[in-house]
């Protein structure tokens, strides 16, 4: 399986991956398992158990380790297999380890990169309120052009938009939107949308229909 890009890519809203949770994401065609240990530290691994290929994103977190769903092999934060339940007394060989990528929290987003990651992670300074992640069946470039020009449909004119590396920022309806751009593949896009400052849950809920409309329009190519 191909690894994710070496440039940092936002793959989720940081708040959507709770400590002790695991999830699967696709980054430019690469299947990646993301998980947080119970202390909250994020990890990003190839989504394939070295034993029999089970997707590790189906696994469950046990303290500092991720256990594979299929046979319960446990991997520590360094990706090293530490326990094989079928052979409880076995000293697990050091050669059994998963392929690891880099994971980091920044700007309310969870980021993934191959190797140690190239480039700096953004530091927005102000607090950010998560709005939602949006998965769209359309190429990233098309979705971004639409978003930079018109923002979220029905919320009025976009005052200013600017790309900031992997983020797109724009002002609309009195809010500053910060959008993490995440290509899932050649024709698939995920947007991880946040708002600058403390924005009430009601105000955020009111924007959800506009995000759904953005997806509808982008997928219809109109």
């Amino acid at each position: 399986m191909p690894p994710p890009p070496v440039a940092w890519t936002p793959v989720a809203l940081a708040a959507d991956l709770q400590p002790g949770a695991a999830a699967g994401v696709v980054v430019d065609g690469a299947e990646v398992a993301i998980w947080r240990d119970t202390a909250g530290t994020p990890h990003a691994w190839e989504d394939r158990c070295p034993h029999r290929g089970m997707k590790l994103s189906f696994g469950f977190v046990r303290g500092e380790r991720l256990a594979c769903l299929y046979h319960g092999w446990e991997y520590d934060g360094g990706g090293q297999c530490r326990y094989i339940p079928a052979h409880p007394d076995l000293d697990v060989p050091a050669s059994i380890c998963v392929n690891r990528y880099s994971a980091a929290d920044a700007a309310g987003l969870l980021w993934v990169a191959s190797g140690t990651g190239s480039g700096d992670l953004p530091d927005p300074g102000d607090p950010l309120s998560p709005l939602r992640s949006l998965f769209i069946d359309a190429p990233l470039g098309e979705v971004l052009n639409r978003l930079a020009a018109d923002g979220l449909p029905g919320l009025g004119p976009v005052v200013e938009s600017a790309e900031d590396g992997p983020l797109l920022n724009f002002d609309q309806a009195g809010h500053r939107f910060v959008v993490g751009r995440h290509p899932t593949g050649p024709s698939g896009t995920a947007l991880h949308i946040l708002l600058k400052g403390e924005v009430s849950a009601e105000a955020r809920a009111a924007m959800i229909p506009a995000t759904a409309e953005l997806r509808r329009l982008a997928e219809a190519g109109r």
Partner: protein
Amino acid sequence: MTRTDDPVALNEWYAVASLDEPGAAPQTTRLLGEDIEIGPGGGVRSLATGEALRTCEKWGLLFASFGRPPRALFDIAEARETDRRFVPCGWITLRASGLRVVENFLDMAHFPFIHTGILGTEPHTEVPQYASEIRRDVDEVWATNCTFFQSQIAATETGGDFVHLTYRVPAPFVVMLYRVCPSAPDRLDAIALFLQPMEETLCRAIPLMWLVDTSSTHAELLRFEQVIFMQDRIVVENQRPLRLPLEPRHEIPTRADGSSVAYRRWLKEKGLRFGTTAGAEAAA
């Protein structure tokens, strides 16, 4: 979709229909990448070329082959014992390689994790040493002396104990399990799983059981089988790659995987490609 050019796969027999559900109309299904039609009289023909496939009937199933199987279907001695209860289950479709499904069926180490509370329970996760071999005289793979602590072995069982199991792979897409029947320890329940490989990563499966146990109702047995299969589906549809890798070192086996190692070696010796990662390369 086109028919595979893998001669090993083409020259095998495959279960393609149950004989107890004769339709008045022809049924369409798929085998090794090609659409086939099963006529009400049991004739099977390719919808791509119109040619008739070889067929035979056994155990209430209709078998078909595109090629010339070098031998007749294997024997299941238990199926000839008339005092047994024959329990044909229903077909299940899985978005997986049939070979991964066979390997899953051979595997005991997943019982406590996938069939939690039914076929196994933590902390009883150890797979005691067992023997696996390719039997050259019959050209089959066997795993013998298998034991595992199960909390509920069959639909009738409560509590838990070590179960004694024997596994048999009589053909690349068929796998069997023999287990000591609790109510008649000198006899073995026999369960066979027949796979119909539709595409490299799509298959249908039908379990047939020849049981000594007569206490559970037919409905209970079907329900039990169905629960087990729904749990295994999560695994086989989410392994990466979906196709079975036959190259050693692509995945990491341990002692508990002895049957899987023998099965993969046997498939590789046969040169089977369909449903394996080698099939994917050939198709690319």
